[in-house]
Symmetry: C2
C-alpha cells in the first residue's frame, strides 16, 4: 500500500464530464489499495474570468480581495470531484486551504506555503477516505485567504505530498511526461524515464512549461518524488527524483528554449566602477528580473557595451526606466530586440565532463547560427540566438548530443 | 449617526457595472455619517449555474459539498464590492461566513443561524470601515461552510443587523416597497409606508415575493426595523416594524395571492376516527406540506369528502403516495386540480373588527366567483378559487376593502 498525492490541472477539470473522468482515475488508485489525496486547479478559463472581473472594477485592486475572489475557482472543482467520487461509491470530502489548514505567509497574490497541518487528514486517509484539496490557496496570518500565484497548484500538491509523507506526487497534465526537447519541434524527442530535480528546475525555468518552478524547488528541498504524467492515458510518465536515483546518467538530459526573452544593449557606457550598479539598480527597484548579462572589454574611448536579457513582458518598462536615467548612465545609444530565443543545454553530467559547451558552439556554427550572448552554470549552457533559427537550432543540438530516438 | 445594514440581491450585483453602482449607494450612506455593513447575494444566475454543475454530476449529492460549491457566488461579489468601494476612497473589506463567523446549525443546504460574532466587526465599523459580508452562508459545527437555503441573504442581513444592534436593515430589491397588492394586477395598488411584522409574514408566505419568510420571522423576534426599498431610486420604501409603531392601523393591509397551490379531493372516505391521520401521516413522512384542509359532514353512507391544498410542486408525489395507500384509505375517487389560486386578505385590524371575512365573501359573490375552500387565522382570511378568476378577484377585494389609491 502506498500513499499518493494526485494533482489535476485546469484542462483536466474543465467541465463536469472531465471531472467525472478524473473521479474514475482516482477510484482506480483507491481500488489498487492506495491512500489518495487529490489537489485540483480551477476549471480552465475560470481564473481568467475572475481576474477580469477584478481588473474591470479597479486596476489598483486590493490583493487580499483579489485572493478571496480568485480562490473560488478551486472551491467549485473540489466540491464537484468529491460528489463525483461519492457517486462512484468512494468515500471523499473536499478541503479548502483554510480548512486543512495550509498556512502561508501574508504576501497576498503570491504567498508562500509555510506549514501544512495534516493531523485530521492523516486520520481520514488511514480510514480510506479520499481528501480532495483546493490547489493554489492557503490561509495567511491575517486569517484571510491567500493564493500562491499562477500555476501554484503544482506547489500545493508537492507541499501536501511532503507534509503527508506521500510515496509519490503525480502531476497529471496534458503532456505525458518530460521530453528531451519540445516534441512539436522534433519528432525525435524522447520521453525521459527519470530526470533529476536540478535538471527539471532548469528545464522549468527556461520554458519547458511542465511544472511550476517553485514546485520543483520545493520537491528538491523536501525530497518529494514527483511524476509528470498524462491525464489522457495510463502510460507511466517521467519521474522527477534525486540525482542519486538515476543510475545511468546521460551527459545531457534535454534541450530547452524560451521565446519570452528580449535583449537590450546599451552602447558606449562609461567603463568605470559603479556603471553596472547604476544600470541594474533602478531595474531591480522596478521589479524587473534581468537574466543574462554580458559586458565587453573596454574600447579606446574608455567606454563599453553592456548587453542583457529580460522577460519580453518587462521590455517597455525597462526601456522607459533606462531612458529616464540617461543623464546618469551616459550611454550613447539604447538598442532593444524582441526577436531572440534563449536556447539551453541541460544536464548534471556536465559537472564531470568537459567539452559540453564546445559541442554546442560547433553544432550551431555548422548551421550558420550566430551566438549573441552566452551564459553558463554548473549544469546548463545557454545562448541567445535570433528567434528565426529556433527550430533549426533545437534540432541540431538534439542530434549533436545524441538525444534523438531511433 | 446611525448604524445601517444594507442588503443587495442578485440583480443589483449582476455584473461589475452594477456592483460599481452599489458602491456609490454605499458611499452615500457613509458620507452622511453612518456606519455601514453590507450583505450581498451572488450575481443573478450564478447560483443556478453552480447548482446545475452539482446536479449534472449526481442527483444524490452530498449537501456539505453542495454548500461549499454554491457559497462561492457570494465570495466573488463581496470581494468585488470591497474593491469598488476602495476605488472610491471608502475603507472596506469583505467577510466570508466563516470569517465573521456566522455560526449556524449543521443542517447543510438549509442551515439556521445560531450566533453571529461581531467583536471585530464592531471595532471596524467604529473606525468607519465598511464591512461587506457574504449573504446566504455561515459555518457549521463541523467547521464546514453551510448555506441557508434560497433567498437566505435576507435572513443573513436581518441576523447581522440584530447582532450589530443596527438602527435599520435596508433590503434593496427590484420593487420599491411592499404594496397593498400586486401592482401588475391593479394600478390602484398603493405602496405601504409601514407594515407590521405579522402582516409581512403572511404577505411573504402567501406569495408576495419580497422578503424571505424566515427573515421576517427573525426580524420580528429580534425587533429589527427592516426597510424594503428600490435599488434603482432614492425613494423611501416600506418599513416593516412592530405593530405598536403603526399609529393609524388600517383594517386590512393587503391582498395577496398564490398560484403555486394545487387541490386534492378524496371522495367518499370512511367517516371514522383515524381517517385524517391515515391520510396526512404518509404525506408528512414524504415531506409534503399540506396547507388548507376541509372535511365535509358525513353523508348517508357514513363517508365524507376530504379536500386539501398543497404546493403544486408536490402534487405528483402526493398523488402517488395516496394511490399507494388506497387499500388502507378506502376512498372511492381521487380528484386533483392545479388550476387554483389561494387568495388572502391580511390585516392586524381584523383582530378587533368583525365582518372582515363576510365582506370578502360578498365581494367575490358579487363577481360570480365560487369559493372552493376557506381557512382563517387571527389576521388572515384565505380562500381557494379557480385560477382564471385571480385578477378579477384581486381587483374586487382591493376595492371592497378601500385600498384603492385615488
Amino acid at each position: 500500500m502506498a500513499r499518493i498525492v494526485q494533482k489535476f490541472g485546469g484542462t483536466s477539470v474543465a467541465n463536469t464530464d472531465r471531472i467525472k473522468a478524473v473521479a474514475l482515475r482516482v477510484k482506480a488508485e483507491v481500488d489498487s489499495g492506495n491512500q489518495v489525496a487529490v489537489v485540483l486547479s480551477a476549471m480552465s478559463g475560470e481564473t481568467n474570468k475572475l481576474v477580469e472581473y477584478v481588473t474591470s472594477i479597479s486596476k489598483l485592486y486590493d490583493a487580499r480581495e483579489y485572493d478571496a475572489i480568485v480562490a473560488t475557482g478551486e472551491q467549485v472543482t473540489i466540491g464537484l470531484l468529491a460528489i463525483a467520487l461519492q457517486d462512484l461509491g468512494v468515500s471523499a470530502r473536499s478541503w479548502l486551504g483554510w480548512q486543512v489548514p495550509i498556512h502561508t505567509d501574508g504576501v497576498h497574490g503570491k504567498a508562500r506555503i509555510e506549514r501544512v497541518e495534516t493531523d485530521e487528514m492523516n486520520v481520514r486517509l488511514e480510514l480510506g477516505e479520499v481528501c480532495v484539496v483546493a490547489g493554489f490557496q492557503g490561509i495567511g496570518p491575517d486569517n484571510r485567504i491567500t493564493t500562491l500565484g499562477r500555476g501554484g497548484s503544482d506547489t500545493s500538491a508537492v507541499a501536501l505530498a511532503a507534509a503527508l509523507n506521500a510515496d509519490r506526487c503525480d502531476i497529471y497534465t496534458d503532456v505525458d511526461g518530460v521530453y528531451t526537447t519540445d516534441p512539436r519541434i522534433t519528432p525525435k524527442a524522447r520521453k525521459l524515464e527519470k530526470i533529476s530535480y536540478e535538471e527539471m528546475l532548469e528545464m522549468a525555468s527556461v520554458g519547458a512549461k511542465v511544472l511550476q518552478t517553485r514546485s520543483v524547488e520545493l520537491a528538491m528541498k523536501q525530497k518529494v518524488r514527483v511524476q509528470v504524467r498524462s491525464s489522457y492515458n495510463d502510460e507511466p510518465g517521467t519521474l522527477v527524483v534525486d540525482e542519486d536515483e538515476i543510475v545511468e546518467q546521460e551527459l545531457v538530459s534535454g534541450i530547452a528554449y524560451s521565446r519570452d526573452e528580449a535583449k537590450i544593449t546599451l552602447v558606449a557606457v562609461p567603463d568605470q566602477p559603479g556603471s553596472a550598479a547604476a544600470i541594474f539598480g533602478p531595474l531591480a527597484d522596478n521589479g524587473i528580473n534581468v537574466d543574462m548579462i554580458v559586458q565587453n572589454i573596454s574600447q579606446d574611448n574608455h567606454a563599453t557595451d553592456m548587453t542583457f536579457t529580460l522577460p519580453i513582458a518587462d521590455l517597455d518598462r525597462a526601456v522607459a526606466t533606462l531612458e529616464g536615467n540617461r543623464d546618469v548612465l551616459q550611454y550613447r545609444e539604447l538598442r532593444s530586440d524582441k526577436d531572440v530565443t534563449k536556447l539551453s543545454v541541460i544536464g548534471v553530467g556536465m559537472r564531470s565532463h568537459a567539452g559540453v559547451a564546445q559541442r554546442m558552439f560547433t553544432a550551431l556554427a555548422d548551421k550558420g547560427i550566430n551566438i549573441q550572448v552566452i551564459s553558463t552554470s554548473e549544469i546548463k549552457v545557454s545562448v541567445l540566438i535570433a528567434e528565426e533559427y529556433t527550430e533549426l537550432a533545437v534540432r541540431a543540438l538534439h542530434t549533436a548530443y545524441g538525444l534523438d530516438s531511433d
